[in-house]
């Protein structure tokens, strides 16, 4: 039996996020962990993946150095294209983007995200930073992957404000409101990975991370979380995955 690898929850999340990227896909890469997930996928199973960064960059290789932000100078080095943001948003709206990554402060049963206001927007209990490009990526990419911390106060029955639309109120909602495509395919949390029912658009627990159980995840979720019939433990990051993640985040800024 191999000795158990040491890794952090963030490293597991980056590995899980990277596995959502298929080879040859065009990926709208959000800030923080997805920057590492893109680098990891490029080095392993998705060498032909293309990354779009909303500051206006297109890359087919990971940046040569660690990035605090997508606008860091190393991210321009060997970029395929440095253009106006609106050109990349246009490609997104055309339906050219296969997968988009965003983070969330609050997510609900149907994968709707709130990163704007907790409480009444007129005098919120907490003012969050807002959409950035997240609402655009959630509206217009073919698939959406969300990365966030798993706490009962963050995974709620119904978000009070939809910044980035998921499946709204469920079946048929996206088409009704006029969204041309898409919807969340996974929410990768600190405790597990949620998928979504193709018909109802409701979240289902796809896997629980090592050390967690179905019950522990359900206990940390703000609604009666459904469980996938084939629910399993999230495969931990491999030694190879950890080695690459640590190469791109040597100080562990995002992953410790």
């Amino acid at each position: 039996m191999a000795t158990r690898l040491e890794y952090t929850p963030a490293e597991l999340m980056v590995a899980a996020a990277a596995r959502e990227i298929h080879n040859g896909e065009i990926v709208f890469t959000g800030m923080r962990l997805p920057l590492l997930a893109f680098a990891l996928a490029k080095n392993l199973h998705a060498p032909r993946a293309i990354g779009l960064f909303e500051c206006g960059l297109v890359r087919d290789t990971p940046a040569p150095e660690f990035l605090y932000t997508m606008g860091d100078p190393p991210n321009i080095t060997n970029a395929l294209w440095a253009t106006r943001m609106i050109n990349l948003m246009g490609l997104l709206q055309q339906g050219r983007v296969d997968l988009g990554f965003i983070g969330g402060a609050e997510v609900d049963r149907f994968g709707n995200l709130n990163t704007s206001y907790l409480g009444d927007p007129k005098m919120p209990t907490t003012k969050l930073p807002g959409s950035g490009g997240a609402a655009d990526i959630a509206s217009l990419s073919k698939r959406l992957v969300v990365i966030m911390a798993h706490e009962k106060r963050r995974l709620v029955e119904r978000v009070s404000y939809i910044t980035s639309p998921g499946f709204g109120e469920g079946e048929g909602w996206r088409a009704r409101v006029g969204l041309p495509r898409g919807g969340p395919s996974a929410v990768i949390t600190t405790l597990g990975i949620l998928g979504f029912d193709a018909t109802t658009g409701e979240a289902v627990l796809r896997s629980y991370h090592p050390g967690q159980t179905v019950d522990s995840v359900r206990a940390a979720t703000g609604w009666d979380l459904r469980i996938a019939p084939d629910v399993c433990e999230t495969p931990p990051p491999t030694a190879r995955e950890l080695e690459i993640i640590r190469r791109y985040d040597p100080a562990g800024f995002w992953t410790r």
Partner: protein, 304 residues
């Protein structure tokens, strides 16, 4: 005709109280912090700040009491988290209440594109199903007269002034910028006037040698300011790197309103200009942010 002037003169002339200003248009890079600090020193009030994400510059102006309205997609601290001043203003009205008109990065870009094209609005499919239109009264919904599909209509934005930090400009405002540009071109074309803040002032011939790299027409430029280091702590491709730690220190220092007052006193109010700011930052600290290597673009021949 030279438009060279000091930053204080440029702000005094072209950024009155009540003005609408678009800044931080390249996203995390080329943020005109020097200009923002001068606005704070000149006690401007009731400003409308327009931008995509703002990496702490908007938070600083809000914390200094200069801002009445935010028209943006995101206000915070990209590598460190939330903007404490933005939160205090929205949650407690400290130092004063704030009106927020929410945008996404795409809709703010579309609004400025519409302004630059001189059209009343742009249709889009983004934000359908989002609640952002509930906190931005300027948006409308309409069915497309062509396919009948639902669209969101984003009205044009025409800021009074765009403040753009660039790598180099001549004295008339013909300027080159490169690297991440985000929505800088749309902002320049949509605004009534443009203030150029440049790392270097170069001869006209340098800029005209590469007209495809020019950001916007100089006839819209009202002021050209030479402010080396004027984008710190944000990066300027080919000039200096991002001062990540500075963003984290700001995050820690401004956690309380009192802390914010001290931070502003130390870095803005108590500082004459950007040169003094860089002195305060310290030679070693500033040196550590300078280029480690040059990477020159391949030659381009405009001959005939």
């Amino acid at each position: 005709m030279s438009k060279r002037m000091s930053l204080s003169e440029a702000i005094a002339r072209y950024v009155p109280t009540g003005a609408s200003i678009v800044m931080g248009t390249a996203l995390e890079s080329l943020i005109p912090f020097a200009a923002g600090h001068e606005i704070i020193r000149q006690h401007r009030r009731d400003l409308t700040l327009i931008g995509p994400i703002s990496d702490i510059l908007f938070d600083q102006l809000i914390g200094a009491g200069c801002v009445q309205k935010i028209v943006a997609a995101w206000v915070g601290n990209v590598s460190a988290g939330l903007g404490h001043n933005y939160r205090r203003a929205c949650e407690q009205g400290i130092p004063q209440p704030l009106t927020v008109w929410d945008h996404s990065n795409f809709t703010i870009a579309l609004a400025l594109l519409a302004g630059g094209l001189g059209v009343p609005y742009m249709p889009t499919y983004t934000l359908l199903g989002s609640d952002l239109p509930k906190t931005n009264p300027s948006f409308k919904y309409a069915a497309s007269p062509f396919g009948g599909e639902k669209t969101l209509l984003v009205p044009a934005l025409k800021p009074d002034v765009a403040i753009l930090h660039v790598q180099r400009s001549d004295k008339e405002g013909n300027a080159h910028a490169w690297g991440n540009l985000g929505i800088s071109e749309e902002a320049a074309l949509a605004s009534e006037r443009v203030i150029i803040v440049a790392e270097e002032i170069v001869p006209r011939e340098v800029i005209l040698s590469d007209p495809n790299r020019v950001l916007a027409p100089s006839f819209k430029v009202c002021a050209v300011v030479h402010a080396p280091g004027g984008a710190h702590p944000s990066p300027v491709q080919g000039y200096y790197n991002r001062d990540h730690e500075f963003y984290h220190e700001y995050h820690r220092a401004t956690r309380t309103a009192e802390g914010n007052v001290q931070w502003l006193e130390h870095w803005v109010i108590g500082v004459k200009d950007r040169a003094e700011y860089l002195q305060k930052l310290g030679k070693e600290h500033w040196q550590a942010l300078q280029l480690r290597e040059h990477r020159y673009a391949a030659p381009v021949d405009y001959g005939y």
